[in-house]
């Protein structure tokens, strides 16, 4: 994101300061999973950012998607973007679409709605859903398995996608509902997730938040959030690499004086600049776009962000030398997240196929 106004600049600065004081990525990858996501409570109480993009009527700041993406980019710099992306951005949009009374709780930090869309064997984009919803009395019952649900262990609610008579639905499930089996897993970036099995979990009538349109929009938001986070991740990788080239000497001269290293750094920077410009441009246009236009724009941003993750991530490790492949240098941990981002929410190859299909709709 670029062109920050003063309010946005202040938001980023205060969040950045807080993260510098409170987030230690060197230990979090190996430590036991904390009972609550480390940043969640503070985002509500100290920083007031859980509602950064949500309407003022729900207690939010009304900054819209752009504010949420700025938060995500800044969290990405500190490797702390989850569960803000899945819960505040995607979960928040789901609750908002369903006019759920839980939205206010989310802004206050008391409600954490985990985003449970991925199923075992999923490829990330346009996956068929095997989780099903069936009518039962005045409500519903839910059956199926969800995979790698970020922050599910700490969630108060789970936003679940399923099909009802073959049509997609988006549901809000109380995390304490009966008939849920859980398995804790860790993720590559040091975070926590769960495998969830719903066995005829009973849901009230008002559990349904929306249908196919909402599902598509939530998926696009999830992708755009990932793009924004990646900008923070690649920024940190670039900053560290730049500093390394300036300060490390070999053959009696600074690495920064070697043209082959200079050119690689330039290409890393340019790849990131493009991803940044495209993410910001797409974010500015999505509200006014049709669903197809939005999908085309979001997929383009994901491919550009994925390319930047690879070019910057691999370049940062290479230019750091052997330090780059260790757990000790920060660059390795940021590289892992960059790698994870490219594989999440649909690979670059999948998004290119979606782009191709959307470009050829009328052919």
């Amino acid at each position: 994101m670029t062109d920050l106004d003063d309010t946005e600049q202040a938001l980023v600065e205060s969040l950045r300061r807080w993260l510098a004081d409170h987030v230690d990525t060197a230990t979090q990858a190996r430590a036991d999973l904390p009972p609550a996501p480390p940043v969640w409570r503070a985002l509500a109480d100290d920083l007031g950012l859980l509602g950064a993009g949500l309407p003022e009527a729900a207690g939010g700041l009304g900054g819209g998607l752009r504010a949420q993406l700025l938060v995500l980019q800044t969290l990405g710099e500190a490797l702390a973007a989850e569960p803000y992306r899945s819960a505040a951005l995607v979960g928040g949009a789901a609750l908002q679409a369903g006019a759920s009374p839980l939205l206010q709780g989310l802004v206050q930090g008391d409600v954490l709605p985990a985003w449970a869309h991925t199923e075992p064997g999923a490829r990330g984009l346009d996956d068929p859903l095997s989780t099903t919803l069936q009518p039962q009395g005045a409500g519903w019952r839910l059956h199926g398995r969800k995979s790698a649900v970020v922050a599910a262990a700490q969630a108060t609610h789970v936003i679940v996608t399923a099909t009802l008579q073959g049509q997609p639905v988006v549901l809000c499930v109380d995390a304490a509902a009966p008939g849920i089996t859980r398995r804790d897993v860790r993720t590559l970036d040091g975070g926590g997730a769960q495998e969830l099995q719903f066995d005829d979990t009973p849901l009230p009538a008002d559990a349904r938040l929306g249908g196919a349109d909402l599902l598509q929009r939530l998926q696009d938001l999830a992708v755009l959030g990932l793009c924004a986070e990646s900008l923070g991740v690649t920024q940190r990788l670039l900053d560290d690499t730049r500093e390394h080239l300036r300060t490390r000497s070999q053959f009696g001269v600074p690495l920064a004086s070697q043209q082959v290293l200079q050119h690689r750094l330039a290409d890393m920077h340019i790849a990131r600049l493009q991803a940044q410009a495209l993410t910001a441009a797409v974010a500015a246009g999505v509200d006014a776009a049709t669903a197809d236009e939005r999908a085309l724009a979001v997929s383009s941003a994901k491919v550009a962000a994925g390319r930047a993750c690879r070019v910057v991530g691999q370049g940062a490790v290479q230019l750091h030398g052997a330090m780059g492949v260790t757990e000790e240098a920060a660059v390795g941990r940021w590289f892992r997240r960059a790698t994870q981002i490219e594989a999440l929410c649909g690979s670059s190859a999948q998004h290119l196929r979606r782009i191709d299909a959307l470009l050829n709709l009328d052919r």
Binding site: Q262, Q274, V282, A297, S300, V303
Partner: protein
């Protein structure tokens, strides 16, 4: 990309479209369509330039006082997009884009009066004398010598890669006027007429078979000293200013129009039984990838324009624009050759392709000619290696 136009911007776009509908003759469109080199053929270029001048749109980027349009960045972008989509000839930049802004910034009122009207109207055609056989990327090492003799400079030496020197009636030139400790010192920026005695032009055929490039020789050429732009020995300052202009501008509208042409070529190459075959599928994905790259470049160019409007100028932006624009264009011309297949290996002038009972398709010929000509894109206006040096220098300051 989803570009939201205001009502005013939409009206402006319609105005441009209406003008293009009326002013772009089929012959001009065809010349634009066949531009496989850096510039459109000289006669069509000039005819189109003069049509734009009649409308007041030949030098839109210039200050309004000198005939510019005062458009917003979005209007410039819309104009470029519409011209590219309509296959308008590409106006050669040496006058309007290069020496014009230099004369505006550094020229005396007398010099501005003498040269700007001809550039604006398209009655003058300029060429650029920068590179020499021994001075390419290392431009500051140039040796072409000018010695002051009364109110004339006496010019001896040679310039090379001088695009369209064989069409130009004027030249702007970097010459060495003083030997100084630093190579950047002692260089001067001179403008003069190409019909002066002692100037000779040797054609250099390109790998595509086209004649765009030349070597120019100066043999005791007497150039009026009134053609000196800026201060004597301070030409490097002028040259650097010009390079910023040369590398500026927006590539995305033009690349988008070229991308659409590739999409049409792909439809034609894979119709009937070939439709949907594995190669068709592979090439479609390459076009999708090129789409993403154009969208990214466009977003970056628009962000750079908006930042410049706010007075925020990234010193590396011209280099980044040049790198991305030229490398993406090369990617497209390479993909075009892949789409064209073996038919691209014939060597037939485009205008002869259909002029026979056994007609040949023109597009594959265009594809190969573009590919060959475009290898120059990452070399001219400062090689892309030099541009990467400049970007890294900003990053590692």
């Amino acid at each position: 990309m989803i570009v939201q136009l205001t009502a005013d911007e939409a009206a402006f776009r319609d105005e441009v479209r209406a003008f293009l509908d009326q002013a772009l003759t089929p012959a001009l469109r065809l010349a634009g369509h066949r531009t496989s080199g850096i510039f459109t053929e000289y006669p069509a270029n000039n005819q189109w330039h003069q049509a734009l001048a009649t409308r007041g749109w030949s030098v839109p980027h210039w200050p309004v006082a000198h005939g510019g349009t005062g458009w917003t960045p979005m209007q410039h972008w819309l104009f470029a997009s519409e011209c590219a989509a309509a296959d308008a000839p590409r106006i050669a930049p040496m006058g309007p884009g290069m020496v014009g802004p230099v004369i505006i910034a550094f020229g005396t009122p007398e010099q501005q009066q003498r040269w700007l009207p001809g550039i604006r109207a398209g009655t003058d055609y300029w060429c650029q004398g920068y590179s020499e056989p021994g001075s390419g990327s290392d431009l500051a090492s140039l040796q072409c010598k000018a010695v002051l003799d009364g109110d004339h400079y006496v010019l001896n030496g040679t310039k090379i890669w001088t695009t369209h020197a064989h069409h130009a009636n004027r030249m702007f030139c970097l010459v060495r006027t003083t030997r100084a400790p630093k190579p950047q010192q002692g260089i001067s920026f001179l403008c003069f007429d190409m019909d002066l005695p002692g100037i000779s032009v040797r054609p250099i055929p390109s790998v595509s078979g086209d004649h765009e490039l030349n070597q120019v020789f100066f043999d005791d050429v007497r150039v009026p000293a009134s053609g000196l732009i800026g201060k004597p020995d301070d030409g490097w300052t002028v040259a650097k200013y010009l390079l910023q202009h040369e590398r500026g501008g927006a590539w995305a509208p033009y690349l988008r129009s070229r991308w659409r042409r590739l999409q049409r070529a792909l439809d034609q190459a894979f119709d009937g039984a070939r439709r949907g075959c594995a190669e068709h599928h592979d090439l479609r994905l390459k076009l999708a990838d090129a789409h993403v790259r154009i969208e990214s470049l466009q977003a970056l160019e628009l962000a750079t324009l908006r930042a410049r409007q706010r007075g925020v100028d990234d010193p590396a932006a011209p280099s980044i624009g040049k790198l991305l624009g030229t490398e993406l264009k090369q990617r497209l011309t390479e993909l075009h050759v892949q789409i064209a297949g073996p038919a691209a290996t014939l060597r037939v002038p485009m205008e002869d392709a259909a002029a026979h009972a056994l007609a040949l398709a023109e597009d594959p010929l265009f594809a190969m000619s573009s590919y060959l000509n475009d290898r120059a894109a990452s070399i001219y206006a400062g090689t892309n290696e030099v541009q990467r040096n400049l970007v890294a220098a900003q990053l590692l300051r």
